[in-house]
Amino acid sequence: MWETTVNGRKLKFHLAGINNQNFIMRDEETGSWWQQVSGEAIQGPMKGAKLNPVFHDELSFAVWKREQPGGRVLKPNPRVAPKYESADWEEKYEKLRVVTPVDAADKLAPRALIIGVKLNGEARAYPVRTLEKQSPILDELGGVPLLIVLGEDRKSVRVFERSVEGRALEFFIKPDSQPLQLIDAETATTWDFTGKAVSGPLAGKQLKRVALLKDYWFDWKIYNPKTSVFTLGERDLSPSDQPTIKKGADGRE
C-alpha cells in the first residue's frame, strides 16, 4: 500500500505489466513504470523515485470488524464480481508455478508463504508454517527485539517491537484467550492483538508496530537477496497453545 503523492504531485496508477510475477504499475501523469512490491519507479522519467509506504495490515475480516467497527469496506463491483478470486484462492495460488530460478540450497519451497520483515538494513523471512507451529515467535532483527504473533483466527499476523522503555519483554499467549491476548513474563501485564496493554502494571502502554509483508518466498528473495530465514530449534517445537518463552538468539539461521 502506497501514498500516491510524489514530490507534491498526485499520481494515478494503472496495471501495466508483469515483471517476474509481480505487477508493474504505470502512472498516468508521467508514464513511468513502478514495481508494485517495492514501490520503486523502474522505468521512465520518475525512474529511481520511491513511493512512501502506507502502514497496513492483512487481517481476517472477523478480526478487522472487531477492531474497526466504524470502518468502511470496499464493495464488490457487480459488473466484474464473477471474476473475483474464489474463497479457496490461497490454496490455488500455492500451486501456481514459479518462473524465476530456484536456489537449490533453499529449504523453503518457492511458493511457501512467509512473513517478511526489514529492520535497520536486515531482512528476515518467517515461514507461516513455522509461525503456525509456534506463536508468538520472539526474535531480534537489526538490533531490535521482535514479537511475531498469529491471531486467534490463525490467519492474521502482527509484528511488534517487544520493548517498553528500553526493556525487552518476553511474551506468551494467554491460554484460552478469545480474542487472543498475550502476557509478558516480566510484569504479567495483559496485552491485546493490537499491541496495547489492557491490564496490569504496564496498562495503557502500546507496543510499536513493525511493518511486515506476507509474501511468497521466491518473491521476497528477489527483492531481499540477503534475507535470512527464521527456523525453530528442535527444543522449540512446543505446541502453540502452551506458553513458550524463548530467547531470540537461538533458533535463527
Partner: protein, 172 residues
C-alpha cells in the same frame, strides 16, 4: 532499347515500394507485440527485457501512426497499375497496421483486470460480501479505517482511495 530501361526502372521502383510496405508493417508489428511479449505473465523477466518493453511501448503509439501513414502512401502509389491480386494483398496487409495503431493505445492488462475507478464502500456492519475468514487489507490513517477484501484486490490489483485525507493506492 531506351523504353525497355524505363519499364525496368519503374518495375524496380514498384518492387522497392512493395518491400518498403512490408518492412513498415513489420516494424509496426514489432513495436506493438515485442513489448507485450517481453512482459507476458508466467515468464521470467530480466531488467533489460523490461527496459526494452518500456522503450518500445513508449514509442509504439507514434511509430504505428507513422507506419499507417506510410503504408497508405505506399498503397496509393502501388494501387494504380496493380493487378487484382496485388490489390487484395495490399488490403490484407494494410488492415493489420490500423489494428496495431489502435492496439498501441490500449492497455490489454486492464482488459484482463478491469480497473475500479468508481470504488464504492460499505459500513463494517453492513457487509454480506465478505466472510469472517476472508482476508482484508486494512489501513487506518488519521482515525479513518478502510478495508480492502483480498478476493477483490486479487482481481483489480490497484484501488485508489483517500483515507484520513491521504491519497493512497492499495495494491495487491
Amino acid at each position: 532499347m531506351e523504353k525497355v530501361q524505363v519499364v525496368d526502372g519503374s518495375k524496380r521502383l514498384r518492387a522497392l515500394a512493395w518491400l518498403s510496405l512490408l518492412i513498415v508493417i513489420a516494424i509496426a508489428f514489432a513495436f506493438v507485440f515485442i513489448p507485450a511479449f517481453l512482459i507476458i505473465p508466467f515468464k521470467s523477466q530480466t531488467a533489460r527485457g523490461v527496459a526494452w518493453s518500456y522503450a518500445l511501448k513508449n514509442w509504439s503509439p507514434v511509430v504505428t501512426v507513422i507506419a499507417a501513414s506510410l503504408s497508405i502512401a505506399l498503397t496509393v502509389y502501388l494501387w494504380r497499375g496493380a493487378r487484382w491480386f496485388g490489390r487484395i494483398a495490399m488490403i490484407v496487409l494494410l488492415a493489420p497496421v490500423f489494428i496495431f495503431a489502435w492496439f498501441a493505445r490500449q492497455n490489454h492488462f486492464e482488459w484482463m483486470f478491469n480497473p475500479l475507478p468508481d470504488a464504492a464502500y460499505a459500513r463494517a456492519g453492513e457487509t454480506d460480501f465478505v466472510a469472517d475468514r476472508d482476508l482484508v487489507m486494512s489501513v487506518v490513517i488519521n482515525g479513518e479505517a478502510a478495508a480492502y477484501p483480498i478476493r477483490q484486490m486479487g482481481y483489480h490489483h490497484i484501488v485508489q482511495d483517500t483515507v484520513g485525507g491521504v491519497p493512497i493506492a492499495a495494491t495487491y
